[in-house]
């Protein structure tokens, strides 16, 4: 048994060494006509593939047994820590206190990292409404982030409008754009929808890049005003802390709204749509209306986040809103747990904070997250913190009373 597994892993290892040989072991320079052989890399691939294939097969077997257990009802789901409201509330309160105090304790640089972490949390939660709750795969989310950011940058640049005036407008603009995009594509099935949103995202970016007269083209817009505080002059560090609190409050609002949305009438309709559209329509749910709502509710947050982003960096260009950005936001949602807002926070911590603090791994950042996306889908499609649907317990009053 062990020997067989050993030879299987050996076979996989050999296969990968052969497969990756040209790309991994050779590097050519066609101008100077030189070849560089890198045999050491090949050895790494071989050993890595050997170990990973053994783990992979073990994990697949484990997945099968777990699926079988779940199907037969054996291995009843145990009570998880996350299920208890006491735990989540205490944790939430603790996080709240920590994040309230942090900007006074750490450097401007650290605060900046936290600001971008919060921006990603906001984006993740927004995308989660569309992808996680409503089950509509959305690949152009960065476009709405761009709409928010450019709304502030352009209005500020041409008309001198302030942050607080544009903030609500950015959200509304993004929501309107989301609904406008959603209108025609609602008839499409999941994967077509993914492609249309991807195409839309690219169109927005390309227009921003090429409409140089208005948007400054690839070089973007600089000298965007920072948010004002009742006309007070502030130092750079002070503004930074100020923006930190703005984005922190924005995240809180996003989080609370998204959490409340899930158990609301619309939220339940969305989750039902995700599970079965036809059954939903039969139950009298207005499919079009509810989906439009999902798009609008999801993209609005990207608009808000975009305005804050523009105010934070004071400089934006189309390079910040590529498909890559959409992919990062999507992987935050997927790794964290689709439909779960706590999951998004954890996912954003993994994708934004971890690489910042582990610089040594920054080279491997994206490849690891990409691999994690695949592995997550294969072994744990529900994500790190799975979403839970609200459970109702029906208590039979009379039985309880008579049973005393």
């Amino acid at each position: 048994m062990v020997a067989r597994e050993f030879f299987k892993s050996l076979g996989v290892s050999l296969w990968f060494m052969v497969l990756t040989f040209p790309l991994v072991a050779v590097r050519v320079n066609t101008i100077e006509n030189t070849i560089q052989w890198r045999w050491a890399n090949l050895a790494i691939v071989g050993v890595g593939a050997f170990v990973l294939s053994a783990v992979w097969r073990w994990a697949l077997v484990r997945r099968e047994t777990m699926l079988a257990n779940a199907a037969s009802g054996a291995g009843e789901r145990s009570v998880r820590v996350w299920d208890s409201p006491v735990v989540t509330r205490t944790l939430g309160a603790a996080l709240l206190v920590v994040f309230m105090g942090i900007p006074w304790l750490v450097s401007t640089y650290q605060t900046n990292i936290l600001i971008s972490f919060f921006l990603y949390v906001m984006l993740g939660i927004g995308l989660n409404i569309v992808v996680g709750v409503a089950g509509l795969l959305f690949l152009g989310y960065a476009a709405f982030y761009a709409i928010g950011a450019y709304a502030y940058a352009l209005l500020n640049h041409y008309f001198g409008w302030g942050f607080w005036t544009v903030l609500p407008m950015g959200g509304v603009l993004a929501a309107v754009a989301g609904v406008l995009l959603a209108f025609p594509v609602l008839r499409l099935r999941g994967d077509y929808l993914a492609i249309v949103t991807l195409g839309f995202g690219e169109i927005v970016r390309l227009v921003l890049e090429n409409w140089s007269d208005l948007t400054g083209g690839p070089s973007g817009i600089s000298n965007i005003d920072r948010p004002g505080f009742f006309g007070q002059e502030m130092t750079v560090a002070g503004t930074n802390i100020y923006i930190y609190y703005i984005v922190f409050v924005a995240v809180l609002v996003t989080f609370v709204v998204a959490e409340r949305l899930k158990d609301s009438r619309v939220g339940r309709a969305l989750q039902a749509l995700r599970e079965d559209e036809i059954a939903c329509e039969a139950m009298g749910i207005d499919r079009v209306g509810v989906k439009l709502m999902a798009f609008g509710l999801g993209t609005a947050w990207a608009g808000f986040a975009g305005v804050i982003f523009a105010a934070k960096t004071t400089f934006i260009n189309p390079a910040s809103f590529t498909f890559f950005e959409s992919a990062i936001i999507l992987s935050i949602v997927v790794l964290g747990g689709m439909g779960s807002n706590w999951g998004v926070i954890l996912g954003a911590a993994f994708l934004v904070l971890l690489p910042e603090y582990m610089r040594a791994f920054s080279e491997y950042r994206m490849i690891l997250f990409a691999a994690a996306m695949v592995l997550m889908m294969v072994f744990r499609p529900q994500g790190m913190i799975p979403a839970r649907s609200k459970q109702y317990r029906i208590v039979d009053r009379e039985l309880e009373l008579s049973g005393e």
């Binding site: 691999a371 695949v374 889908m377």
Partner: protein
């Protein structure tokens, strides 16, 4: 209207279109059989170009003649890409066969990002010059300024490959099994068709064709980079949708249609918005005629 300019655009559109068609075949075949948009397909094309570059580099220092290098680079890169396609299917898609629609799609996006970063890691993130492997044909001399021999070769090779594939699908046993699996996988399995094998072969063929496209276009353009697969992939997918996804002649027609409309759009309207043009076509088609030019509207039964 300037006739020569028109022909110039037409021919460059033809070259582009043939490459789009070659890549689109991979999308459409995979979609036809397992209803999955294989996002990693564009990356296979990119890996094909890189493998071609490496083979050409090695053979170049050994002093092989140009035509031999070209043929060997294409062949080796086809074999390797077939291997990549096969492996990707086994890792990222096969374990998810039973798992709804969203999971394989996300897995595919993950795979695509993985391959891009893999190439960044083991090769480079910069643009790399690609040697010009395609020899100059003497008989094309008079029109070389509008239709270079690389254009000619791309169009001819694509046409030959597509004709070969059509015959393969139509007349071989495997081709028949593929068509049966595409129509109804369960039924095909009941009749003794090994669906897993059919799916593997689909990935292998699609990837090999993408590799040909990768090497030829890289030699034509003279540059490769890890990101070339993304744009080429979306455009090829657009071509597949235009033609009607799942339909082989549709993918070829869609590829040509997209290549020509891009070329004319860039030539007569504005070259800045060339890519916008392709994406808009995609969006418009998906909205108004999601079944494409050749596809049939699908009725979903409950």
């Amino acid at each position: 209207m300037d006739v020569q300019y028109f022909f110039e655009l037409f021919l460059s559109g033809l070259t582009r279109g043939s490459i789009y068609a070659l890549i689109a075949i991979g999308y459409t075949m995979v979609y036809g059989i397992i209803e999955l948009i294989n996002f990693a397909h564009g990356e296979i094309y990119m890996i094909g170009a890189f493998t071609g570059l490496i083979v050409a580099g090695i053979l170049g220092t050994m002093g092989f003649p140009l035509p031999a290098i070209l043929v060997l680079a294409v062949l080796v890169s086809m074999i390797y890409c077939a291997g990549y396609g096969y492996t990707i299917e086994k890792i990222a898609y096969k374990p998810l066969r039973q798992a709804g629609r969203l999971s394989p799609l996300i897995s595919a996006i993950g795979m695509s990002l993985f391959l891009q970063n893999y190439v960044i890691l083991v090769q480079t993130s910069d643009f790399v010059p690609f040697p010009s492997l395609i020899p100059e044909f003497a008989f094309l001399e008079p029109i070389a300024h509008i239709f270079a021999s690389s254009d000619f070769l791309i169009v001819v090779v694509s046409a030959v490959l597509m004709a070969g594939l059509t015959l393969f699908i139509k007349y071989t046993k495997m081709g028949k099994a593929m068509r049966a699996t595409a129509q109804n996988r369960k039924m095909a399995m009941l009749l003794g068709i090994d669906a897993d094998r059919v799916i593997s072969v689909t990935f292998i063929i699609g990837s090999a064709l993408a590799a040909v496209g990768g090497v030829l276009i890289a030699s034509h353009v003279g540059m490769v980079n890890f990101a070339i697969g993304f744009l080429a992939g979306i455009k090829a997918f657009t071509a597949a949708v235009l033609g009607g996804i799942g339909s082989l002649p549709g993918a070829m027609l869609g590829g040509l249609f997209l290549g020509l409309s891009e070329s004319f759009g860039a030539g007569y309207i504005s070259s800045d918005y060339e890519d916008v043009f392709a994406f808009s076509l995609l969006v418009i088609f998906l909205i108004f005629r999601p079944s494409g030019i050749m596809g049939k509207a699908k009725v979903e039964k409950v």
